[in-house]
Every structure is written in C-alpha cells, then in structure tokens.
C-alpha cells in the first residue's frame, strides 16, 4: 500500500523537478544563442529563436514541453543542432549506466568480502587490510584516484590504456577508480554491523547448539548485518551516477557527464531538463528498489 503510493508519487515528483528545472534554466542569465558564431545578426537570432519556439510566451513554451513529455519526446538540443535530446540520451546514457553498474558491482564485490573478513578476523591481518581499504577510500577521493591511477598504470607502467571506453582494459581503471570509495564505505558498514550481530544472543544460542561456524556466519549472521549496507545502496547509487561525471571527464568516456555540465553552461534548455528528468526518475526508482530489498531482507519490517 505504502509502496504503491510511493510508486505513484514518482511521476509527480519527476514532474515537479522537471518544472522547476524548466523555469530555473530559463530564468538563468544569458540564452542559448548568445555565443552564436559572431557576428550573429538580429535576423539570425530571431530566426533561431523562432525555430525553437523561444519567441513564444513562457506559458506556451511550457505547454509545448509538457505535450512533448507526454509523448516521450524531450525536444531538440540547442547546442547539437542536428540531434534530439532523445538521440543523445540513447547514446550517452547506456555508457554512464554501464560504468555506474560496474562500479556498483566493484563496491559490493570488494566491500562485502573485506567487511566480512574484517569482522570475522577482528584485530588480525584481514582486518588490517580492510582498515587500509577504508582509509584509502576515505582520504583519496575519486577525482584524485583516477588521475593517479592513470599516472601509474597507464603512463608509468604502460599496462592499461589512458582513456576512452569499450574494450575490457579500458573499462578496468574507471570502474575501479569510481568503485573504491564506495567499497570502503560498504566494507565499513558491514564490518560494524557484523561485529554487532556476532555479539547478539541468537548467535550464542546457535553456537551453543553446535552449529558449524560456516553455516553460522553465512546463514545467520550475514543476513541481518547486510541491512545497513542495503539502506546505503540508495544514496550510493545516487553518488555513483553523479560521481561518474568526474571519471568520465578524466578518462574521456562518452557518457552523460559532459552533457550535464555543457548543457548548463551553453543554456541548452531541453538537454538539461531532459537529463534532470531521466536522472531524477532513475534515482527515485532506485531508492524505491533499495527499500524493497530492505523489506525483503528484514523480517521485522516484512511482517510488520
């Protein structure tokens, strides 16, 4: 019931955010054709404005935008004249999303084992390894790690390509650079959660009944300890998606990051609004999915 209501709320929120972005962009000083190849005569500017309906009243422009939105058409890009926003998104979004998912996988793939071992071997060398990971993740931000990795692995050792996207070696560095920080956060959350679970009475009971250590850890202790990690997944995905802008810039990956920044500076209204719509919808849905996973894992919430 509550979930259904939240699902229905998503389009409403996206609409509010899109409306805000629509009007805020148009309120920003300057216009999309200010930097037209000079000298842009009055006639050229007027013709451009007429072509993109910018000479109409704000209300009419908004209605036109809503009508387009209803049919899934986000309009033409002002900067990349021969492409529609839909075309650009269709090309760039899959790249950014792939990078995001790969980094998400890295974060969980490194973070969960590291946190697990850290809690199980508390105070011994696997724990030290985990602490080092957390430390590195915390104090070496993504945009520092990425150029440092390029400096070392690509320029110094020459093992991996410097930039671009597509082949497996090209994917490795960006994925790792983006995922490390989140791996550190995940490992820390799991280590704290699992340490606390292992002190709980039901674990003592299970041990007293003679349950094998392996079964105990994986079946009984891990599941409740994963809850903090699951609830962190929502904000993590949001940070991953926006954090990838920096990675895309360093590695010159043709994702949405460049469009985000450029469309703002060049006042490419439809591009910006389109990105806002896609990203807000994506993030709201991912947060909803996170909550669903949480419910499924936590019997206290499931049966409440």
């Amino acid at each position: 019931m509550n979930l259904l209501r939240r699902l229905l709320l998503v389009p409403l929120l996206v609409w509010i955010v899109a409306t805000l972005a629509f009007f805020l962009m148009r309120a920003a000083p300057g216009g999309p054709f200010d930097r037209e190849r000079a000298p842009a005569s009055k006639e050229v500017e007027a013709a451009l404005k007429a072509r993109y309906h910018l000479d109409e009243s704000l209300g009419r422009q908004y209605l036109r935008f809503l009508a387009g939105l209803a049919t899934g058409d986000l309009g033409p890009s002002f900067k990349y004249r021969h492409h529609s926003v839909n075309d650009i998104l269709a090309q760039a979004l899959p790249v950014s999303l792939t990078l995001g998912w790969l980094a998400f996988g890295t974060a969980l793939g490194i973070g969960i084992p590291a946190g697990f071992l850290g809690a199980v071997y508390r105070g011994r060398w696997p724990d030290w390894g985990g602490s080092f990971l957390v430390l590195a993740g915390v104090c070496i931000p993504t945009f520092v790690l990425a150029p440092l990795l390029v400096l070392f692995f690509s320029l110094k050792l020459g093992w991996l390509p410097v930039a671009l996207w597509g082949s497996l070696p090209q994917v490795l560095l960006p994925t790792f650079a983006l995922g490390l920080y989140f791996a550190a956060r995940v490992s820390r959350l799991l280590r704290e959660g699992l340490s606390e679970t292992l002190r709980a009475p039901f674990i003592m009971t299970a041990r007293a009944k003679g349950l094998g250590e392996f079964q105990l850890l994986l079946r009984h202790a891990l599941r409740p300890s994963l809850l903090p990690v699951i609830s962190y997944c929502g904000p993590m995905l949001a940070d991953l998606l926006t954090g990838s802008f920096v990675i895309e810039r360093v590695f010159q990956i043709p994702g949405t990051g460049a469009f985000f920044v450029n469309s703002f500076f060049s006042r490419d209204y439809p591009m910006m609004v389109g990105l806002v719509i896609v990203y807000s919808a994506l993030l709201l849905l991912l947060n909803l999915a996170t909550d669903l996973a949480y419910r499924w894992l936590d019997p206290r919430v499931r049966h409440a």
Partner: protein
C-alpha cells in the same frame, strides 16, 4: 584538593585524549592549519606571481615545483588548502544550522508536519543535488556580483565563494536533520521533558534548554564529519569547473590542473601528487578526529 567533578564532557575529552588515531588526526590538522594560515606569509611568495620557469620540478627554490605559468606550487597549495578549509568549515556550519533546526522542529512537532518534513528529506536525498547547485550558482551569481559591487566592491570578487558556502551547506544538511530527529524522538517522552511541559514551559524553551544540550555531542560529531564531506564536494565542483575561479585556487582546482597536464610525453607528477597529498592528509585528519569524537561521545564506550 578536591577531585574535579566528572561531567560527561570531561569524560568524553578524557576518552578522546586516549584515542591514538584521533590524537594523530588532531596534531596533523593542527600542523595543516598552522601551515595554511602562516605559511604563505612566512614564505613571502605570491601564489599568483608568474615566473620565467614553468613546469620546474621540485627543488630547493620551489619545494613543490612550479605550474604552467611558473607559479610556486607550494604557495598555491597552501592558499588553495586555506580556501578548501574555509569552504568546508563554513559549509558545515550552514548545514548544521539548517539540519539541526529541521530535525529539532520535525521531531518535536511530530505528526503530519514531521512526516512531511522527513518525506522532503527523503526526496531531496534521492535527487542529484549537483543540478541544484549548478542552477543556484548560475541563477544568482550575476545578481550577487552586482549587489556586492554596489554595497562592498572589495567583496565582489568573492561572490562565487559566498555562493559555494550557501549551496554546499544547503545540500549537506540531510544527514544531520535525520540524526538530530532520531535523537530528539528518543528524548521527547522522557520524564524530564514531560515535567518541564507540565510546569508550563513553552516549546521554544524546551527545545533550547532541554533538547538542544542533549544532542550537542552528536551534533559536534557529525559536524566534524561534514567538514571533509563539504571539502570533497567543493573539490568535486571545482574539478568540473563549477567551483573556485582562477586565479584563485582550491585544492580541487589545483588537482584538476595537475590532471590536465597528464600526458605520456612528459610526466609532471608533482602538479598532481602534492595537492592531492595535501587534500588526502586534510581529509584523513578530519576523519580521524570525527571518529574519535564519535567514540568519545558514545555512552556505550564507557568503560
């Protein structure tokens, strides 16, 4: 001689003092602050002074080497770190102000208001706030510059800095609001609050006198952890070209400059490694202090 009374704050301080990692962090931060505040003056080097030796590697004359315009990277890093710390502290202060007020009011009012306020926090949490920051900077900057020019012309150049303070504070308060609300919810029905209510104390008095002091510890802890988060966010924005403007520098812009000079022909590592190292040590110090404070204020760590 009488033993000094054992207040919670005193016990927390004693725990903090015995935490080695936290002490190392505090000393490191002290050194960084000292260097950042006094260094540029003591060195007597103008961080914006161009010279004839661009891209000089580190040497006795230029400890961190020089950049593309031959400017001394050591002086630039110190001044950049000063800006980063300033943004971090002010942004965190703004976020504390908003977050604490929001959390206190939501928890104390309760009911429908609380639900709506926290729902708002959830929604803001799920939206990419970089868009908000970009829009606010783009919308208000020219107006702010014009306004400052008429009121205080000397400050007009810092318009971007003031905007960053406000924007970064405005996007970093969500966690604080949640934490404060949680704390206040657990305090709200305690007998001493009820007693105060029965005695006829107004809500504003209870909030100020009873609730706020009880959440101070946790506010300090999370404020400390917000500072590195804001510094990171500023560097992130600067890296994308939305933050501090040249010729001023923050650690983020310096790292971006260094990253742009990466090429296979000539490796000018110092441009990247030194500012990055300074940023990493600052973040490390702040995190250790924050963690230490959290342990110190955690009643469960009483032994």
């Amino acid at each position: 001689m009488r033993e000094s009374p054992s207040t919670p704050a005193r016990r927390a301080w004693s725990r903090f003092r015995h935490n080695r990692a936290a002490l190392v962090g505090a000393v490191l931060l002290g050194l960084i602050l000292l260097g950042v505040l006094l260094g540029p003056t003591l060195l007597g080097i103008d961080p914006n002074q161009a010279s004839e030796t661009p891209f000089a590697p580190p040497s006795g004359a230029h400890w961190f080497g020089t950049d593309i315009h031959g400017r001394d990277l050591f002086a630039r890093s110190l001044v950049g770190a000063r800006i980063s710390l300033l943004v971090g502290l002010t942004g965190a202060a703004v976020s504390v102000l908003i977050g604490v007020t929001w959390g206190l009011v939501a928890a104390y009012t309760g009911g429908r208001t609380d639900a709506w306020m926290m729902r708002t926090v959830d929604v803001l949490y799920a939206l990419p706030n970089i868009i908000f920051v970009m829009l606010v900077i783009g919308l208000t900057e020219t107006h702010l510059v014009r306004g400052l020019q008429s009121v205080a012309p000397g400050l007009a150049g810092s318009a971007r800095l003031f905007l960053l303070f406000a924007c970064l504070g405005a996007v970093s308060w969500l966690n604080m609001a949640r934490i404060v609300r949680g704390q206040v919810l657990s305090l709200r029905h305690r007998p001493f609050i009820l007693a105060s209510q029965v005695l006829g104390a107004p809500a504003s008095f209870i909030l100020r006198r009873h609730l706020l002091p009880n959440v101070t510890g946790i506010i300090i802890v999370y404020a400390t952890l917000t500072v590195p988060a804001v510094i990171l966010y500023e560097s992130f924005l600067s890296f994308l070209g939305l933050g501090i403007r040249p010729p001023d520098a923050s650690l983020g812009t310096l790292i971006e400059d260094g990253a742009r000079q990466l090429n296979p022909i000539q490796i000018r590592w110092w441009l990247l490694v030194f500012p990055a190292g300074l940023l990493a040590s600052t973040l490390l110090a702040l995190h250790h202090i924050g963690d230490g404070l959290r342990d110190a204020f955690d009643p469960r760590s009483e032994s």
